[in-house]
Amino acid sequence: MDWIWQGFHDAFNLLLHGDPEIGFITLLTLRVSGLATLISLVIGLPFGTLLALHHFRGRRLLLGLVNTGMAIPPVVVGLLAAILLWRSGPLGILNLIYTPSAMIFAQVIIASPVITGLTVAALEQLDPRLRLQLLGLGASQWQMIALLWWEARLGLLAALMAGFGRAISEIGASMMIGGNIRFQTRVLTTAIVLETGKGNFDRAIALGLILLSLAFMINYVLTLAQQRRQSRS
């Protein structure tokens, strides 16, 4: 069992002394998952708002698809993205396969339904009369939506956290369409799989600790913001 403790010891040494490859992997992970979450927010927030506030034909079907998308396995997304982005595929002309952009594309497909679905849930929890009250006070549609977002901000922050969590923790899609190429598309999750397979537990543990720390720090900041607003209300 000593090798486990040795692994932790070596991992801390790697982190303390800094390793250029681990640094690159960490920054690339943040860039890919951060951008994917941002794009998912830009898609999920308005789409979720539309589904929550408007009743139209096909709404239930769309809600069903969004809820299914929330649980879609990342390898299936990886397969779908690979088919689309493959050199001879429908989007092959874009030459994106095995690039960070392809990984962002896949993570957007994974995180968007989560943000959309949780946006719907957050807005549907508000008192339905609040919309009438805001319109009765003379709000335009945009002013009303902005204030509904304000009222649902705790739930929307939770949606953002869940979307980021799903993007940064997925591995199947990144492996399939990123290719885990050193200094190009290797991110924390794919690197952990590789190093574990090679028996390099010190590096795998170091990468795992970084991934956990990143997920914790980002979610902690969002949780602080959420709790501060909650305690004010």
């Binding site: 009438l132 009250q133 319109l135 009765g136 006070l137 003379g138 335009s140 004010r232 209300s233």
Partner: protein
């Protein structure tokens, strides 16, 4: 007094069923019309239709002689004030809640501040200015709600049992205060309530709604 509002042959449907039928109803300029009736008789439907938050299927509504449906919906909503049973205050300070409608109208800051000060003082809630609106008592919250609407100086005020959730003593005190304010401001008002005694005490005139129709118009 001239007719401020004239409704004729009105039919409003909700979920494809008639929710309100009004053959004829007028409201004079600066009049407080009380509409009384049991729950589900169409009182709230009437107010929501007046506020253009519900469409009507038949009939005509004239506001100062102009057909309601020919007016831009947003412009119309910015001429009226609507108060529901519950205050529905937003998760912000009392002061920020009162400025909401003024901000929607892009009112200059100085005028906004002046009106907020005026109504905080008028309704005796100046001491609550910085308090989170969600931490107020029922009576305080409804005063803030009234200040939020009255600061807009609406041409037509629509009140949907605004004090129903309050105790009898607070309700009576607030109704008296509000009636006095509305008479001073000469604000045309439609006040709906399930309580006929409250209706006759508050309104200059009372109509009774039953099953979506005006049953009688006692003088």
């Amino acid at each position: 007094m001239t007719d401020f509002l004239e409704i004729s042959g009105l039919l409003v449907e909700r979920d494809r069923r008639p929710a309100l039928t009004l053959d004829h109803l007028t409201v004079k300029e600066a009049e407080i019309l009380a509409v009384s009736g049991a729950n589900g008789c169409g009182k709230t439907t009437l107010l929501l239709t007046m506020a253009r938050l519900l469409p009507f299927q038949k009939g005509e509504i004239l506001l100062r002689g102009q057909p309601l449906e020919k007016q831009d919906s947003l412009s119309h909503r910015r001429r009226i004030g609507l108060v529901f049973q519950d205050p529905l205050l937003l998760d912000m300070s009392v002061e920020e809640n009162i400025t909401l409608g003024l901000r929607f109208r892009h009112m200059p800051r100085a005028e906004t501040a002046r009106r907020v000060d005026e109504w905080l003082e008028y309704l005796n809630i100046g001491h609550l200015r910085k308090r989170p609106a969600r931490k107020l008592s029922g009576g305080e919250a409804q005063r803030v709600n009234l200040a939020r609407v009255l600061a807009l100086r609406p041409e037509l005020l629509l009140l949907d049992e605004p004090f129903r959730s309050l105790d009898a003593a607070t309700r009576s005190r607030l109704l008296n205060e509000l009636k006095s304010i509305l008479e001073q401001m000469c604000t045309t008002t439609i006040f709906v309530t399930h309580d006929p005694v409250e209706a006759s005490a508050f309104g200059h005139r009372t109509v009774i709604l039953a099953q979506g129709r005006v049953e009688s118009q006692p003088r």
